[in-house]
């Protein structure tokens, strides 16, 4: 059966030109395909941010004189749908650049295809280090068109989190930490590396660790266990829908520990409403710092532009982390292409790659540059560090009280903080 199919394939491949979209029209427009779960706030914020970046480019004469067009597709957060829209963008719409993907499964699902077709692909959502590192390590030439321009990968995030743990210990004397992580690829580093890194600081210990199935929606037993272990801080790494339930359970039961770490749903500017205020005092790390702190000269201009453009179009009212990264990715690539003087990846891919690897860029989320091919994390975005060597482009934000309402404040690192960290009033 398969032999038959192979035979047929050999004949038909040569006729590929017949398939409507493949030959397509390659005109003078620079097309960017954006991929994200646009039915979700995170994806919608990212798509809007990419749109802002494209508008900005067009206002400034496009890329190398070409008009820029953005094609935004919904991956639905599912690998199969991600593959479908990615193929459509490349094969039918002839995009010159792919940006996006939030869910690790989707990223992994399309990465082989993208490597095959050589279209430059800048990942702006998934933080799983393996997605890039492993592939580039195995076959650099094949995967060299793939980059991550943000956020920093979760190995680096874990290091940043350990720095933050030490900071909390300085502030409050908290020394017992609990780590609760989603059972998902992106939390691997937090489960594998973080405990060691926390305990590397004198006096700190990790007293409780557990992983939560993404199906879980009853968190009482996890929180009870952390409580029984006398945790002062629970670092929870949660991306799935249960986050609101987690937060509410913690807040209503007034568990005697602070809630820190990474909560993807908690990054939503609408999370206060979604939890009916239960998220007060919880923190999350997120690139872009929720759009409340002027991380670079670009940050607030971008956030203001976003708010002005989309204030009537529903949530999210701020770009969210992937928005910062998508915005930066589009502009970053445009600048690299300008430097390389080409967007023709089919013939000039190496030139474009070199230009990207050479580029030092100021984005809305921070200063950006990429690891080189021979470094630890090839084609991955570099972390930035403060004078004392602490990772600085992974800021922490906290929900604080503002009258009856909640407000996001950046509380870490100190350089970017807009307010002090506040401990839950019941502690």
């Amino acid at each position: 059966m398969f032999l038959g199919a192979t035979g047929a394939a050999a004949v038909t491949t040569s006729l590929a030109g017949c398939l409507g979209g493949i030959s397509g029209d390659d005109d003078d427009v620079f097309r960017i395909g954006h991929l994200g779960p646009t039915e979700m706030e995170m994806g919608r914020g990212a798509a809007r941010s990419a749109e802002l970046a494209v508008d900005e480019l067009n206002d400034n004469g496009g890329v190398l004189g070409r008009d820029v067009e953005l094609l935004s597709e919904d991956t639905g957060g599912e690998p199969t749908e991600g593959e479908r829209v990615a193929e459509n963008l490349v094969q039918q719409d002839n995009v010159d650049l792919l940006v996006g993907t939030f869910v690790s499964e989707v990223t992994q699902g399309i990465i082989d295809f993208v490597a095959e077709v050589d279209v430059p692909f800048l990942i702006t959502g998934s933080a799983d280090p393996d997605t890039i590192t492993q592939n580039h390590g195995e076959d650099y030439d094949h995967y060299k068109n793939i980059f991550r321009t943000g956020p920093i990968n979760s190995d680096l995030q874990a290091e940043g989190m350990a720095d933050y743990a030490a900071h909390l210990n300085d502030e409050y004397g908290w020394d017992n930490f609990s780590i609760l992580a989603d059972d998902a690829a992106w939390t691997t580093s937090f489960r594998d590396i973080l405990p060691e890194q926390i305990e590397a600081t004198e006096g700190l210990s990790v007293v409780h660790e557990d992983r939560m199935s993404v199906e879980t929606d009853n968190f009482t037993s996890f929180l009870d266990d952390a409580d029984d272990a006398d945790a002062d801080v629970v670092f929870r790494f949660i991306a799935h829908g249960g986050a609101a339930g987690f937060t509410s359970t913690w807040a209503q039961n007034e568990y005697p520990f602070a809630l820190e770490g990474v909560s993807v749903p908690g990054m939503s500017p609408e999370f206060w409403d979604a939890t009916e205020g239960a998220c007060l005092y919880e923190t999350t790390s997120q690139s872009g710092a929720g759009g409340v702190a002027p991380l670079t000269d670009r940050t607030m201009d971008f956030v203001d532009a976003y708010e002005a453009e989309f204030e009537d179009e529903g949530p999210p009212s701020k770009p969210m982390y992937m928005g910062f990264n998508s915005y930066d990715a589009v502009l970053f690539y445009a600048e690299a292409a300008a430097n390389a003087d080409t967007v023709d990846y089919e013939s000039d891919l190496d030139a474009i790659i070199d230009a990207m690897l050479d580029l030092e860029f100021t984005g809305a989320a921070g200063e950006m540059s990429l690891y080189g091919p021979d470094e630890e994390y090839p084609h991955d975005v570099r972390e930035t560090r403060t004078a004392d060597g602490v990772i600085s482009n992974f800021p922490v934000t906290q929900w604080q009280e503002d009258g009856d309402d909640g407000v996001v404040e950046c509380v870490y690192p100190r350089e970017d903080a807009t307010a002090d960290h506040v401990e839950p009033e019941w502690l």
Binding site: R211, T220, D224, D228, G241, N253, E254, A274
Partner: protein, 294 residues
Amino acid sequence: MISQLLSILVLGAMISAVYALIAIGFTMIFGVGGVLNLAHGALIMIGAFAYLGLTSSAGALSLPPVVGFVLAVAITAGASYVLYAGLVTYIEDNIVITFLATVVVALLLTELIIIQFGAEPSQLIPVVPGSIYLEAVGTRIRYVELVAFIVSWIAIGLLWYYVTKTDEGRSILATSMSTRGAELTGVDLGTVKSRTWLIAGAFAGIAGVFIGTLQSTTPEMWLNPLALAFIIVVIGGIGSIKGSVVAAYLIGYLETASIEILGPSFQGVLSLIVLAAVLLVLPHGLYGRELVHE
């Protein structure tokens, strides 16, 4: 160890009451009409989202929780009736078509909820906020869990009174035992079925608000309660209200215990395996009876 046992005992008792509500509605509809309503989970979802829409402080109405609760239950009961009168009556002669159509209704509702409320989970305002710490047990109980427990048992008690002490209610039980017998005693089947769907809907509404509050409110939330309803009803014996209550406690405790002892990654698997075992050993469940509807 003792405190772990106690906490299983307490937490299990709370959630099992809500599970019983879910299962009773499901089993009554099967008993009376021979319909396996795979949209039962979707009714629970409607209850949660109705409550969300009515009470959310970001929403237009922002009703007080208690008012929202009552209205949400009424809306779910209404939705259940509409499902029966608008769809199921036309297809219930064919059990396969009914089976498929109700599950398709659930999938359709999922999409409509996404369109209306978005795909992200929402958090419901607890009907009663706050919690107490049970020192002896070493666990916390949210007041809303207590309320869920009490309200569920009141609802079950009222139903029990209705179906055993009143002619109207007894007719429902009677119809579930013998449709022809009911007709021979002058029972109007249409009315009985409508009442059954209303009751099942109301129970689903109550369960929906509490499941939504205690667990999560998402457009996918229907599957879990539906699976629970199956498991409980099959273990308890399809058509038996008593069986549903007993099996709900069995499963509630099993889940709570497996979370406390084995950890949550096996949540659900254990009860599914128990279910498979029961199906194979006791196909009619604990209180199973040869059924009129096959």
